[in-house]
């Protein structure tokens, strides 16, 4: 594919779109599908045909529009967004085209939830049909790749990524450019690029939405990465629990192969690259890169000590680049617009935007993309719309089981890698769960410890035994039988597990306990000294 051919496809698609004067976009990402958005789309199709509007009006399935709590969402362009649409509303929606919108279904879009976002990764989500490569190309897709292949050397590509200041979006925040240049300098007979789509954090669904809404963006990011580091084979390690994402990825890979964007001698150059899917099978630890590689190789997903890092010795002992879905999704716009453009967004050390899955007891749950450096207060109270049922905010949890709970004192803190780490939490992959006064922090800590205990792979003892013992202690506390000695032991164990575990799972497992101890010590004290739970959750013995 030459730049001219790409331009031609984009132009043809633009022309085709211009002929259709009315497009009704229906969200067909997982959130809305589970509210029966497919039947809404089918009803719209039937209604369009029965009205004989086929030539000038059509419905199309698009990716996630963000406000998952109000689904199914339907957009008719010009900022008109409908929420909670059912199949029975199809006629009303079509009546509203080019006329007054349907008042009762209207979802206001001039609210902070939409206005405060800045979309880079999600720029096409909710706009293009994820199952058609032509629409992605028409939205400047694959332009970055062709530009890189035809006009840039691999060193120049890495330079742009370094300049952009992009950091790994999987959670740890390792500079992406540095990782790429390590892999490109490493020596091996073959190199691999792996996309980590094993989104295991409970409460996080960013990667899933990106894969379901804009799969080609991830493929393009991987292709550019492969060109930069000199890899010829790629794998996407995706959770088997995401059937829709798998289906769309398979379609996307097939389409890209047909267009000559994947396969041998891409764009007439010597660069060849193929991508295969590997299905995860439900093991949280496989998000850790060495465990992930073991799993891609068909083994049990247990981590191994690093170094050697996968950048030197990864898949089959060869240099391997592993990045997260969101990291790859950031690459095409960086190459298209240049690293400096990206570096202008965000804070000094955390550049660009971050996608968050906002959930829990907050009014607007869903997917949001915000510039780094926004405060937690803006996230929870402006974008999130605050706490429903007139309850009080208690904490916001970031980073899943490896992260921590931050109290209201931290609300004015900017969201960036360093600030979150200082406060005892982590950026994580982007789960953000809001809790109100009805949640007990000890119970929440126990929940996460239960998670880490079950997900511990069992290879190293601090993690395998430590998480079990910590869970047992937390269980005693929530049953209101604990003594002050139990508290001392819990703190000692936190320190031990954090510092002696083999991989990230064990090292970060104590974080939920440490952060709740730091900010909500009073709750622990109440459980032990007064035998009562301030939130009224514990002691009933009812929970998991």
């Amino acid at each position: 594919m030459t730049p001219e051919e790409l331009e031609h496809i984009a132009q043809t698609e633009h022309d085709a779109q211009a002929e259709i004067s009315q497009t009704v976009s229906v969200c067909v990402a997982a959130g809305c599908i589970s509210c029966q958005s497919q039947s809404v789309k089918d009803a719209l199709d039937r209604e369009i045909i029965s009205r004989g509007w086929g030539s000038r009006c059509r419905s199309k399935g698009v990716g996630c529009m963000g406000l998952c709590a109000e689904g199914p969402l339907v957009s008719t362009g010009n900022g008109t967004l409908y929420k909670g649409v059912t199949a029975a509303d199809a006629a009303s929606v079509l009546d509203g085209l080019g006329a007054e919108p349907v008042e009762r279904l209207l979802c206001p879009t001039d609210v902070p939830f939409f206005q405060r976002q800045k979309k880079i990764v999600l720029e096409n989500s909710g706009v293009i049909d994820p199952e058609r490569i032509e629409e992605y190309i028409a939205a400047s897709g694959y332009h970055g790749l062709i530009h890189a292949l035809t006009e840039m050397t691999s060193v120049e590509v890495i330079e742009q990524v370094v300049k952009s200041g992009l950091r790994g979006r999987g959670g740890a925040g390792y500079p992406t450019g540095l990782k790429w240049s390590t892999v490109s300098k490493a020596v091996g007979t073959q190199k691999f690029v792996i996309c980590n789509a094993d989104e295991g954090d409970p409460g996080a669904f960013m990667d899933r939405s990106v894969l379901e809404s804009d799969p080609h963006r991830v493929l393009e990011g991987m292709l550019i990465a492969a060109y930069a580091v000199g890899a010829s084979e790629g794998y996407i390690y995706v959770r088997a629990e995401y059937p829709l994402a798998i289906k769309r990825l398979k379609i996307a890979i097939r389409q890209a192969e047909r267009f000559g964007l994947l396969g041998p001698n891409i764009s007439g150059t010597r660069f060849s690259f193929r991508i295969d899917l590997r299905l995860g099978a439900g093991a949280f630890v496989c998000g850790e890169e060495t465990a992930l590689i073991a799993s891609v190789e068909g083994k049990r997903g247990t981590p191994r000590p690093r170094p050697p890092y996968p950048a030197q010795e990864g898949m089959l002992g060869q240099p391997t680049l592993i990045n997260n879905v969101e990291t790859f999704a950031n690459i095409p716009p960086i190459i298209r617009n240049g690293g400096e453009w990206y570096a202008a967004i965000g804070t000094e050390k955390s550049k660009g935007t971050k996608v968050f899955a906002l959930a829990g007891t907050v009014k607007n749950t869903g997917l949001v993309e915000v510039p780094m450096g926004i405060t937690l207060r803006e996230m929870v109270f402006e974008i999130g719309g605050g706490i429903p049922n007139e309850r009080q905010f208690k904490a916001v949890q970031t980073g899943g089981p490896s992260g921590g709970c931050l109290p209201s004192e931290c609300l004015d803190m900017p969201v960036d890698y360093e600030s979150l780490a200082r406060a005892g939490s982590i950026m994580g992959s982007g789960g953000m769960i809001v809790m109100d006064e009805s949640s007990c922090m000890v119970d929440v800590a126990k929940y996460f410890m239960d998670f880490c205990m079950t997900e511990s792979c069992g290879k190293c003892i601090p993690c395998r035994v430590g998480t079990y013992q910590m869970h047992r202690l937390l269980d005693t506390i929530t049953k209101l039988h604990a003594t002050p000695e139990d508290m001392a032991l819990l703190e000692e164990l936190c320190d031990l597990v954090k510092n002696t575990s083999l991989c990230g799972l064990g090292q970060s497992a104590p974080n939920p306990v440490l952060s709740t101890l730091r900010y909500f010590a009073g709750e622990y004290a109440a459980h032990i000294q007064q035998n009562r739970c301030l939130a009224g959750v514990c002691g009933k013995g009812a929970h998991v």
């Binding site: 589970s34 954090d201 409970p202 959930a359």
Partner: protein, 145 residues
Amino acid sequence: MRRVGQQSRGLIETLHTVQEAFGYLDETALRYVASSLRVPLSRAYGVATFYHFFTLKPAGEHTCVICLGTACYIKGAGELVDAVKQDLGISPGETTANRRVSVLSARCLGSCGLAPAVVYDNEVAGKVTPEQLRQQMAKWNPHDA
């Protein structure tokens, strides 16, 4: 297996395919897969038991997956588990004695906007209340059956 090139690398892919076809992995299947891919049976068994997604037991007629992700937990998934325990007498991971209903738990379905979420036979239902869950269970597993 031919698709993965009879390589031991394809073990997980193969097990996925087998489970998709038969619903679970029994001893015969594991022995067959292990010998075809030339890996020790211990490794096939190790992989099959390491990952949560694989099951060595046949599932019931209907399956009900309760999401226990953080958002669902905060919004009351624990009460859903209790409701099932009371009504069917089984915990997540178990099947009723008459093989009608299997109850499973999931770490996160990624439908956090709809918390608490439950999957009834591959259909995701959002904002589920214990009463709704009880009704569905009663439909699948009538007391007089």
